[in-house]
Symmetry: C2
Subunit: 185 residues, 2 copies
Amino acid sequence: MEEQEHKPITVLRLGHRPSRDKRVSTHLLLAARAFGARDAIYTGIKDVTLEESVSKIVKEWGGDFSVEYSESWKKTLRAWKGKIIHLTMYGLPVEDVIDEIKDDLFPKLVIVGGAKVPGDLYGMADWNVAVTNQPHSEVSALALFLHELYCGKELSLNFPGAKLTVVPQANTKKVIPRAIHMSNK
Amino acid sequence: MEEQEHKPITVLRLGHRPSRDKRVSTHLLLAARAFGARDAIYTGIKDVTLEESVSKIVKEWGGDFSVEYSESWKKTLRAWKGKIIHLTMYGLPVEDVIDEIKDDLFPKLVIVGGAKVPGDLYGMADWNVAVTNQPHSEVSALALFLHELYCGKELSLNFPGAKLTVVPQANTKKVIPRAIHMSNK
């Protein structure tokens, strides 16, 4: 995907709490991977199980998406060489700002909140972007944002090195291991 | 939104487990509401807290989205008067089938899986639809599907009767209660 090469996306997930957020954070990171982000960083409490869940998916389904822990979101923001996008229901509508964001050629850090988003983040972001001004989920907000950014091309991304590949079916399941997939080519 | 009137969507969430799925199911139901579904049904274990979380959001943020519990997904499917869409990573690519689905004028039940999806569901659905063939989240899959179905018009949906309204801002938060909102009109 050409867009991805030009505009690598790193997702920053704020304030992960292993006890409450494990499944939502896993879904968020898998959505980041599936919709074309290059990698992700999370803050909050370090969670090896979360990291392992994601790396297991990467091993099976391909690509080189990776996840890192950061102790401080402010340090991550200060070290970031590129633009900063904060997804929040209080921001400007994605449909109004997406063209401006698409035109920008810098790498992007896309921040999605956790339990409490620090107030000063709004001022540090280049764009505060709302995927609707309604409460829903950081998972749906991130997926929609990446979908708009990549113009739907992320739906047919290729993930090299996959051990498993789905063969799309109208009314059943078909998953083939890589060896078979290769020999069928 | 004209599309919504012609093609009401009910979301069916399968196999909810309060202990594990509370947050993901809440996110899923809020995404259903935010992206224009009319209502939702869930199966699995009845969870009053889940229902209350959603109805609290509806009271504050408007609209008339509602959630019901069903003891049996098969009974729900048999009683359904309309088409059935099953979102699954094993289905046909959303980009290939969305036009056909858009052309269909029946109400739609959009099913999203829980922990284990029963095998016979694939044969009972009119469409098995994949939002990418990668593992991610039912929350992102549902949001993307509704976004494609409603052609992005769901991003500017109006929710009547809201007590709270966000005024989109470039770099801060602004939420106004309904009384002020009305007097500013």
